[in-house]
Subunit: 417 residues, 4 copies
């Protein structure tokens, strides 16, 4: 049973399932599984690879490894584990990300300047906190465990989010390197669903519950579940592919102002976009920088590394639209969508905003999601970099409309216009 399945089970279960040994065993297993996955992902990276911050939006792998560790120190061990001593007095300052209520913190854009503590010290930091956590999870009484289990869930899901960012950030860094290094030369992309010509799923008008309505883990931005009017609309079952995108390029898509939002065209021309992020033209052939290094673009694969601006321009070129996040959720809940998860996040045309009645959680973790609810757009699904067990039908990812270093693609919507 995977960590995810366990979490789901736990979330559905009643108090009897939270029997002492079961909960303790689950928490220990989940903690070990997630923490190991972080280290597994960092393993191919040299100390230099772990330092680089190739743009302010990205963070060094070493920082991801330390920040996720600080999270447990800050929110679990510090307040709840009597006698715990922080590994190092400077680390709270160095590895806090954006929690102003947790104290001052190092400037985000300069994370790549912290050569010391080094990779080895961060590894020691992780071991120190892991050992303290394991002792704590083994020794705490049952009521404490039950009370802290939701916080554990946040810590582990938080770390999973950073696992994804570790890959997207190092890919961006490698893509800036003229020698195009590979994260893993043997890496292969996940196979997309076979497009079988079933085209579009039609959603008739109806009132649906949107958002997370169960008991299991979820982020506060998925709540409250609320009623929304959805449809009529058609949603494409398949993701837009590189073949589609090459047709857009060949048709002058990147040079045709009338296809673009004005801010998008200003960005595209200002930065000289001619193709998706990480694409490189080598002797007339489009290649793409992947985790396996630079490879020819596969026409059958779903397009990735496109910004909202590009996705929107493509949709206009195609005579279609992007779906709203509600439409996506209804269609996905109905099981109608191919590759909804596991290849590329899918841009929606929904600005990232609070659901009606949204309340951030109390305390410092209230900064987790709420303060980002402006100027960004929602992506749904998950990507090839998303850790196992971290996807949900109601999951709301969000990025700025010019961002394209994520594994971000799209599927189309049709309103009959």
């Amino acid at each position: 049973m995977t960590e995810h399945a366990a979490a789901q089970k736990r979330s559905r279960g009643g108090p009897d399932l939270y029997g002492a040994s079961t909960l303790r065993r689950h928490l220990i297993d989940a903690f070990r599984t997630v923490r190991n996955e972080t280290e597994r992902r960092a393993a191919p990276l040299s100390p230099e690879d772990q330092l680089i911050q190739s743009m302010p939006d990205a963070s060094p792998a070493k920082w991801h490894r330390a920040h996720t560790t600080w999270f447990f120190e800050q929110f679990l061990l510090g307040p709840h584990c009597a006698g715990y001593t922080p590994f190092h007095p400077d680390y709270a300052f160095l590895f806090n990300s954006y929690y102003v209520t947790a104290g001052p913190r190092h400037t985000r854009a300069e994370r790549g300047h912290i050569t010391r503590p080094g990779t080895g010290e961060v590894t020691a930091y992780r071991r120190h906190v892991d050992a303290a956590m394991m002792a704590f999870l083994s020794d705490a009484d049952e009521s404490t465990l039950a009370r802290l289990a939701p916080l554990m869930d946040v810590g582990l899901n938080h770390e999973q989010q950073h696992q994804e960012l570790m890959l997207t950030d190092i890919l961006h860094a490698f893509a800036q390197n003229p020698t195009c290094p590979a994260y893993d030369k043997t890496w292969t992309p996940p196979p997309p669903a076979v497009a079988n010509g079933d085209g579009w799923v039609q959603l008739n008008e109806g009132i649906h519950n949107i958002g997370f309505g169960g008991d299991g883990f979820h982020f506060d931005n998925e709540k409250p579940v609320h009623r929304a009017l959805v449809g009529p609309v058609g949603i494409a079952r398949d993701l837009v592919t590189n073949r589609d995108w090459l047709a857009f390029i060949d048709d002058g898509g990147y040079r045709t102002a009338t296809l673009w939002l004005m801010d998008g065209f200003a960005r595209a021309t200002g930065e000289g976009w001619e193709a998706p992020g990480h694409w490189r033209n080598r002797d007339g052939t489009w290649h793409i920088m992947t985790l396996g290094g630079l490879r020819p673009v596969d026409p059958d694969a779903p397009v990735s590394h496109v910004s909202y601006y590009e996705a929107d321009a493509f949709a206009r070129w195609a005579g279609k639209h992007l779906p709203t996040e509600m439409e996506w959720e209804v269609a996905a809940r109905g099981g109608h969508l191919h590759d909804a998860f596991g290849i590329a996040w899918q841009w929606t045309r929904s600005a990232y905003a609070p659901y009606p009645g949204y309340r951030p959680v109390d305390g410092t973790l209230g900064e987790y999601n709420g303060k980002f609810m402006v100027n960004q757009y929602v992506l749904r699904g998950s990507s090839l970099a998303t850790p196992e067990g971290h996807s949900r039908l109601t999951y709301r990812n969000f990025f700025y409309p010019h961002h394209r270093w994520q594994f971000s693609g799209l599927r189309l919507a049709d309103y009959g216009d």
Copy 2:
């Protein structure tokens, strides 16, 4: 009968109302009324005042006067008036705003650099086009008039939008001048509704038609009318006042990070915001730069010149929210709102986006609204600078969330959270 009432009547009327002499008379009257209003607003401005562009978001008054004139030359006289000769071959380049399909244009941020043609030449340009338009409207056959009436409506509404901007832009320019010049020393603000303690209007859940469903003039972004689920929600009948805002300031609102969206707080601290735009602290007392010059802040007046970021922070501080544009529209249509029009535009929490099934109009005017539908937020109502006859229940104004040189305020919403 005002121009607005006439337009409304026309929009509701059948073909019989469009009888030859009625339509012609209406068009001539409307044209003369709107064009005169522009000149009336420019009258207090010296040639220097008409040149200044105090920031890239603003435009010189002279440019507003010329650009609105170019609009008639470009879209009416050029294509539809045989034998019309443009006033000057350079003006299409100088006074096109953002219509890429209408040809190349002068850089927006450098509009304040065009000292020549001077104010006098722009006056001559206006007279030239006015005369040509009057001749055209007098001489065209009825079917031509009927066919072009919608385009006339766009041109006149377009000019009205620039009438409002002329005032907000010159107010911004004067506010940068350390001598605080007055546009009109005798200017007095419109009196707000008397707050009578009736507080909140409650909207129960219901499906409503949103958007413009009539026949009269409207912009394409108000269409198509579509069904939306609105409520339950409470909407404040009154606008937030300066008294409320002073309490927010006194409570440290501008310095409390947790009240703000992250992008908003970065902007507020980066630009040193301590109060709404155009406010100046003189010897411990807050003053505000108005069209009548610098005056003490009136606590009873609705707050104005606040950005979306500030409005959102204020709402959070008050334990409330901003309404969505749909909620605003439903409440306003029901006649429940005080000062919905005529004092300050009201920020909503709705990102500016196309309605489902939205289609820009064909041709160059398709650039009018659609390409701005990203990164901006919708404001509803109208302001003290909005020309008579230019407001509508379904009107969607939009600005970036950091903008605060408009007459922009807010009213609150309550979701019971």
Copy 3:
């Protein structure tokens, strides 16, 4: 007798020449002559023309007119004319340029934002100060006049410097206008000396006195006269012409990195330089924006509007150098140079630095020159925009090496390498 000749005479004369009526008459004449010249230069400019500041390095004509007036108010009338009332309490703030010891001042880059006071008020300001000055000069006793004569000289020479800037600044502004307005359609350039093939003047090694050693007016940066070793060097008698420059362009001069200083090439490529400032290619023919409007480049005319970077690259391309300012001064004092004055300032390779033993004058006027002695290069001679009577063999003009909106050219030097 021109104002300059009078000043020279005065400077050479003994106390007897400063007899009451002579000095008084001279000061009144000089004041009237210089002040009138400013107004003569401003006369072709509309109020809008007088407002524009087309880049931070330039200033509006209206500002030049007011700032030179403020100078007399600040340094003459205020301290020395009992009972003088400043024209307006805000003007000291608005029209101080960079004298920190004279109090706070308006931001330089925003001078173009001051639409009010308008052109008419500045004219009234000039008249007010002129009248006060004339009364003061008429009524002051002789000893006061004798004591203040040097300060009068500074004020008048200061105004003459701004007379030159008024022309270079408005030319820059007009050059940004796509319609290429003319300051004066009848303007003709000064005729250059006939190049008669006498080529180079050779200066043997010798110790020379450099700097101003007489009694007349001079700026503090021309002092003290000091001994310098000059030569051996050859100095071109003629200025580099547009014909020479076209050969440089045709030879790829602007694209050949090895001809340039690194900072210069970065600037040239960053700003897309392909020819001197104000040159425009119209259908394959080089034109130049002049005070008379856009005209074809005259191959026989000396090149103008080149930066130090370009001048240096040209010299390297020609296998030559720029002279030092000492070499220029020695050659010019010997009368060997054609067009040393009156067409284009000539870049030297001397960084602008204090002469050994340099002391700024006491008080606020000590900021006049000294604080600019870094990062700039010296130009010698004068230009077609320099007012009559304002040139001197020892005059040191200075600009940053990327500046090219002045009438700036060059002559070559040859060290035999």
Copy 4:
């Protein structure tokens, strides 16, 4: 006999000293000595430390190690060693610095983004080139050695320059780290000369030969030797100390605009300077970031990490000046100066410019010095980071006037004004 002494001897010697075995032995020894010193300096740095580029002016230690190696590959092995194969085809692109005639190169500001090749690969690169060089130096015939000896000198002196930069650059990087890491905790500063109150050396007016006139190694910018008039001037025998500087700080030196060049004050206020670079105020006591970590400022030590702007302001505050580079050279040649070498480079007031008759060397190495001769100021002497054997009386170092991450200090001059 040190490498430097050997080089000096060689430079003075006739052909008989260049006997086969002597020259060969010297070149091999010098090569080994210099190359080892680079590695000795890099030894305390972790792989992460070697990657960081903390500002565009600095470079990563790994890059310094690779670039100096590329120099031998590019200029020695490639053209002169038959059959030599470059270590890696990408390295010429990655590790060329600014030689445009040597081909395209990686963007300077992004040197810190090259995580791969890693530190280990750069070590392998160095070993590969070292082995090839040793074989080449052992096997080449004598005439080849004699012909290439000057080029060897350039390569070794070039590497020594980068040895100094490795220390200044990593010190800057560590100074950005809030944990203040030490390069070498046991590091101690060189002891300054004992100030013995002998004050000032007076130089009378005289003509002196300036520049390098011998036969040994020198850079092209030290040539040609030429005659210059120097004096009368007094030059301080001692460097300005931290005690002096603290008095300047305490007297409000950093806040007094009239002490500063205008560009300098703009920089100082824009960047918030309150003390020299790398100084940190901890609980009211000034500390300085050194190679040994953060330590209290020693009042007796010469001040370091000051920019030209600060040095100039200090001199004005002290009623003195900075000397010219010629004055420095004459005084130093006379043996009058304490601590001329080995503690801190000394700013002069000489803009970096070509000596009269200067010619860059032919070919790519002509880019070594000449193209930087604008906008920078000359420093003389050497610093505690300068490698043994790399200083000369005629050595001209140069940096921009705002630079202060070098070990840069000053001594004063007195012109009797």
